[in-house]
Symmetry: C2
């Protein structure tokens, strides 16, 4: 069995973790778990939806694959999560992040000197932590570390990872199962494609929704 641990912590962005989960859970030998400080509901960043952790970090000392979504770096217990990540990374087959999850990996020292990506808002913070920010790339691999850009990029990361683990045919099977044939009706999904006005509005809205999250935690 391949044990896959999806991290949950207060302020998690739901799609960061649910997107990859929906592909990786389809693997024939996957033992999927949602891990947090304790089992039980974890409130996401929107303040309405909770996802339920199935296991604690302590119960999950050696996952084969760990996936870290964006969570609040201002949460009082973020240090425990960072310590757990540092520990499990010693023996993972793949250590992965989506969106601001890369900041957690960086805080754990895992990205020191590695190329990596994150949500466009957090790219400067990633550099401050000693990673080589690659804002133009959607998925960045460095050895057994794979980081993805913001939120929806986790779906591309997971599909790529299925191909690495089980080959192209299996990746195509899970892609068809979730009918991942994207046809976005607009084309503003990357900073390089958005208008100056759209970038300005999105930056302001991110700052409003996530105050202080793109600054180093104290």
């Amino acid at each position: 069995m391949t044990q896959i641990a999806f991290v949950l912590a207060p302020g998690v962005t739901a799609l960061d973790v649910v997107g990859p989960y929906e592909l990786l859970r389809l693997l024939p030998d996957a033992e999927v778990r949602f891990v947090s400080h304790e089992p039980g509901p974890v409130l996401t960043d929107g303040g309405v939806l909770s996802l339920v952790a199935s296991h604690s970090f302590a119960e999950t000392p050696s996952p084969d694959i760990v996936l870290v979504p964006a969570v609040s770096v201002q949460d009082a217990r973020v240090g425990e999560l960072v310590d757990w990540l540092r520990g499990v990374h010693e023996t993972t087959r793949w250590t992965t992040s989506v969106c601001g999850g890369a900041i957690l990996l960086a805080m754990a020292g895992i990205l020191n000197g590695h190329p990596a990506t994150t949500h466009w808002v957090a790219q400067p913070l990633l550099s401050q932590f000693g990673a080589e920010s690659r804002p133009e790339e959607r998925i960045v691999r460095s050895g057994r570390i794979v980081t993805a850009a913001g939120v929806s990029a986790g779906i591309d990361l997971a599909l790529w990872l299925v191909g690495e683990l089980y080959g192209a045919e299996q990746a195509e099977v899970v892609q068809l199962m979730i009918e991942y044939d994207p046809q976005p009706p607009y084309d503003s999904g990357h900073v390089s494609k958005a208008s100056a006005r759209v970038l300005e509005l999105a930056t302001a809205r991110m700052a409003e929704l996530y105050p202080g999250e793109s600054q180093p935690p104290e």
Copy 2:
């Protein structure tokens, strides 16, 4: 405020609902809720992850927008959900579904004579319920009803809907916020693009994971 009700029920496919939620929650005047028979955790189809409903169906008699994901049509209480859908559709501004959610709308009589889409596995069932199946389309609009194809298609539906509700600029803002610039590393996300072998494997795996779900409920 625009009240948006995301339906949860046993056997729900998490990404069907979390994908659209992650865009629609960013609307300036959205009052988002996750509705089910009762508030509390609802187990998803994978058997590991639960999502927590914030409100009951009874507490939510008149949402402006309702979004129905795939849930188990074999669940003992599916009739209550279908009755609720039939009722709320009378006054919704938009009634929407993702993946097998269209089957629930069809069971409620809402799709009679309407063009609609669903997951490729469920297209024949959609026709049996009196809808005009459109398996080649990712999003189908018919009046104030919008249905999306399988799982990941809900993201495209939600982005389209933001544009309808608030215009192109707002759609581009939320697209950038979730960095929805898809770059799937494989190209097998629609039946017309998949090889015969991949289709065969995916069909077998769907039947294994969802026994009886693509048959009419008894």
